[in-house]
């Protein structure tokens, strides 16, 4: 009954989204204010119905209603209650409903918080979101219905949730990631609405900025959580695999990062308009392409969903209409938009332009690396695969100039910068970075590794430069106490995000260089020495969980004879899906992780163990977190909440 109500709610949501797509748009062309005013209630209404549909699906999972195919295939009665809830978006069908709900949520938020916008623009933005919503709800309803029943023949027990997805990280990862993906739909809708009206001033940019920042924040968090999840759950200590599905989330992130920087230029200086609009279109287009790649089976990936050419076809047609249509509009309208402002070769505009170029190059590399196997095959040249070394090398070379520029850019003025005043502070910065990098290297007792040195150097450069710059700005207000409060939140946000990037670079370089990994054979009582740590296997015993069995190993870790910590690694056997999962034992410190995963049982009461010591691996996720917090701080900036009446406000310095 509840399941049917969910189906009905989704149908209502579809009807409302179709109305939302048509009515305000029509109203905007015939200048009918009443039709435009309908946009807000329609947007809020469809959100309520999407929410009801999702709740109905969660109910079906919680009550283990195995007459629903989706429940039978992705849950079981022995599954713990919290995983029963997350199982509701663990499958293709369920995750599509989650996607729809997130999109509906963003639409409702735009409807709620766009009072400052002119009615015409508001109506158009919501209508465009309505079009996208209608497309996705229709896909959910007609191509991949999460509520479909298998009556009269249904199983008495479900097939259980994929054990890979039974992890805390998995509870948070998909919703956060989807919030990011579909969040870019808002910036997309703003861009299309602006293309329709031909108005791209700094006020428009100021409206878009918080939405783009919010989407970017969620995407950053989502990617970071995914990486953390893979590290804990896949049992071999990796944190990024350049898998097509990961790349599908990384591409919109790169485009989104370029977008928030380009938006800054459009807001402050009124230039880069065609860039900004193109990036707003691209960020969402890449999210859609990503959804297509994951769900159509075009590429081989470890975590793509079960494939179905019908679904792929639908998504491709949708992609063609939405992205093709918007790019056509871009081609027809954008060439008439001119930028007024002029700037010199050495100016912040140029450096941010460089930022865009590098981020887009990175995006293009990921794009080509991901899709090259497909191109190659479809051109009849045979099968190839592109792996980690390609991406790693490309990103190694890209990061160096990118980070150098990043340290420089916040110091440089808009319009024009004289070189001379910067020489002294920058020599000091470079010296400080070099000292710090070499100091850390010396404490690691090896100076041979150039990747680590490069990473430390760049990290120190970006980090020190960001800190020094924010100190300088604070001093410019006169007293320090006054400066700290006067400097606006988005400036702190930028500084924090840049430091986050520095931390990330250091983390990647150090982990890549100094990770020590050993595969050992151990019996109870044996001790393995890895990178100065002594791992002693205390015992291995049988596990008995709710829906899994298996073995657990207890280890004691000592360093220089002193007891350090206790580790608990598991190897679970999930009974219903008959799969084996490793739950790695991790002892985390800011400077290093101790990582142990339990392997196969060997003859003679022994066990294969993989032991790793990974310096600075936490820094990778810490960097991601700092970037997200940076975005959050920037969002808190007062100027996004000020009622804008039409005239440009304060001369900006951020």
């Amino acid at each position: 009954m509840i399941v049917e109500a969910g189906q009905l709610a989704l149908t209502f949501a579809f009807a409302l989204s179709v109305l939302l797509a048509i009515v305000p748009l029509y109203g905007s062309f015939v200048a009918n204010q009443r039709l435009l005013l309908l946009a807000k209630p329609l947007a809020l209404g469809q959100f309520v119905f999407c929410l009801l549909a999702m709740l109905a699906l969660i109910y079906a999972f919680r009550s283990s209603d195995f007459t629903v195919i989706n429940v039978a295939q992705n849950s079981s009665s022995t599954l713990p209650w919290y995983y029963q809830i997350t199982a509701s978006f663990g499958s293709h069908e369920g995750s599509m409903l989650l996607w729809v709900l997130m999109l509906a949520g963003w639409t409702a938020l735009v409807a709620q918080y766009s009072k400052a916008l002119p009615l015409l623009l508001q109506g158009r933005i919501l209508a465009i979101l309505g079009i996208i919503l209608a497309g996705f709800i229709a896909f959910s309803l007609f191509m991949s219905n999460p509520f479909e029943r298998s009556l009269p023949f249904y199983p008495v027990e479900g097939r259980d949730l994929n054990p890979l997805l039974q992890d805390f990280g998995m509870i948070l990862h998909p919703p956060t990631l989807y919030m990011g993906y579909v969040g870019f739909a808002v910036a997309f809708a703003f861009a299309i609405a602006a293309l329709m009206s031909g108005r791209f001033d700094s006020i428009w940019a100021r409206w878009v900025r918080p939405w783009a920042l919010a989407a970017w924040l969620f995407l950053t968090l989502g990617i970071m959580l995914g990486s953390w999840w893979a590290y804990n759950e896949l049992g071999w200590g990796g944190w990024w695999f350049w898998d097509p599905v990961e790349n599908a989330s990384f591409m919109p992130w790169l485009a989104g990062t370029a977008l928030i920087h380009s938006l800054a230029v459009t807001e402050k200086r009124g230039t880069f308009k065609s860039w900004t609009v193109l990036l707003a279109l691209a960020a969402f287009a890449l999210s859609l392409v990503g959804a297509f790649l994951v769900r159509s089976g075009v590429l081989v990936s470890v975590h793509s969903f079960a494939t179905d050419p019908g679904r792929g076809m639908y998504l491709l047609v949708f992609l063609l209409l939405v992205v093709g249509g918007s790019l056509l509009l871009y081609g027809r309208r954008m060439h008439s938009v001119r930028s007024q402002a002029r700037y010199q070769l050495f100016s912040r505009e140029m450096l941010l332009w460089g930022n865009n170029i590098f981020l887009l190059t990175a995006c293009l590399i990921v794009f080509l690396g991901t899709l090259f196997p497909l191109f190659h095959k479809e051109l009849g040249l045979g099968s190839i695969s592109i792996g980690e070394p390609f991406f790693n090398q490309m990103f190694y070379y890209l990061t160096i100039p990118f980070a150098l520029m990043l340290g420089l850019a916040p110091w440089v003025r808009w319009k024009q910068q004289q070189l001379a005043p910067l020489i002294k502070p920058f020599s000091l910065l470079a010296l400080a970075a070099l000292t710090l990098a070499l100091g850390v290297m010396a404490s690691m007792q090896t100076v041979q590794a150039n990747l680590a040195l490069m990473g430390l150097l760049l990290g120190a450069w970006v980090g020190i430069s960001a800190l020094a710059e924010v100190t300088l700005r604070i001093r410019q207000f006169g007293s320090v106490g006054k400066g700290i409060t006067k400097l606006n939140a988005s400036h702190y946000g930028m500084t924090l995000a840049h430091i986050g990037f520095a931390v990330l670079v250091v983390g990647v370089a150090m982990t890549k260089t100094y990770t020590v990994e050993r595969d050992v054979r151990m019996q109870a009582g044996d001790t393995a020495h890895v990178a100065g740590y002594d791992f002693t296997l205390v015992e291995v015993y049988e596990l008995n969980g709710a829906n899994f069995g298996g073995q657990a190993a207890e280890l004691d870790v000592r360093k220089d004879g002193r007891y350090l910590t206790h580790l608990h690694a598991e190897k679970r056997f999930y009974r219903i899906q008959r799969t084996i999962m490793t739950e790695s034992a991790v002892h985390a410190r800011l400077s290093r992780d101790l990582y142990v995963s339990l392997g196969e049982e060997l003859p003679g009461n022994a066990w294969a163990m993989r032991i790793q010591v990974k310096p600075f691996v936490r820094w990778i996720w810490l960097g991601g977190l700092l970037m997200s917090f940076g975005a959050l701080l920037a969002l808190a900036d007062k100027r996004y909440r000020r009622k804008t009446s039409g005239q440009p406000t304060e001369p900006a310095n951020a």
């Binding site: 076809m313 992609l319 081609g331 954008m334």
Partner: protein, 190 residues
């Protein structure tokens, strides 16, 4: 000129869409072996049961046959032994390429031919023996040259020693009828 520039994103996107469309209708996991339509790679490998006999491609010429990659460690291979034996009784010539798993010196016992022979004899007695003989690919070098990604896989080799077809996965009555039988017929014509 400036006007045209703004259509570049659209053109690039349409080109991409074309690839995605054609990608929808092909299986990314399907891979053609690079050895297809070329002569069998050169090898000199011992017979599994009579290790003093060394097999080379020249000795395999003269008659079309199936080269079946298998191992006793592979459950699917064991499952298809029965049907393959049936095919042998219908006159299909099948040669086994025994795929020995790599050994980890730290964890595994050293390779022992006598143990393996015993293992194989027992498995074949249990499920049926479809093989004229078995070639032991201890270092997996021939399997590598043929582009084997796992077991079971089967190649059709014609009378001139040219690799004509490559099948990944097991052979069951349906696969044989719809895919392999026509190919075998075609390439075993004198």
């Amino acid at each position: 000129m400036r006007k045209v520039l703004f259509y570049v994103p659209l053109v690039l996107f349409l080109a991409l869409a074309l690839f995605l469309l054609s990608g929808l209708f092909s299986d990314p996991r399907e891979r053609a072996s690079a050895a297809l339509d070329t002569a069998l790679p050169d090898f000199a490998l011992a017979d599994l049961m009579q290790p003093q006999h060394i097999w080379t491609p020249e000795q395999l010429r003269g008659e079309a046959f199936l080269l079946n990659v298998w191992g006793t460690w592979c459950p699917t291979c064991n499952a298809e032994l029965g049907y393959l034996t049936e095919l042998r009784s219908q006159g299909v010539k099948i040669v086994g390429l025994y795929y020995e798993l790599p050994r980890d010196p730290a964890f595994d016992a050293p390779f022992d031919l006598a143990v393996l022979q015993q293992d194989v004899t027992q498995k074949l007695a249990q499920h049926g023996n479809p093989y004229q003989f078995n070639i032991l690919d201890l270092q997996r070098s021939l399997a590598l040259d043929l582009g084997v990604s796992g077991a079971p896989e089967t190649f059709i080799i014609d009378a001139n020693g040219v690799v004509r077809a490559h099948h990944i996965g097991d052979i069951n009555p349906q696969v044989w009828r719809t895919k392999l039988a026509p190919l075998y017929q075609q390439w075993s014509q004198p």
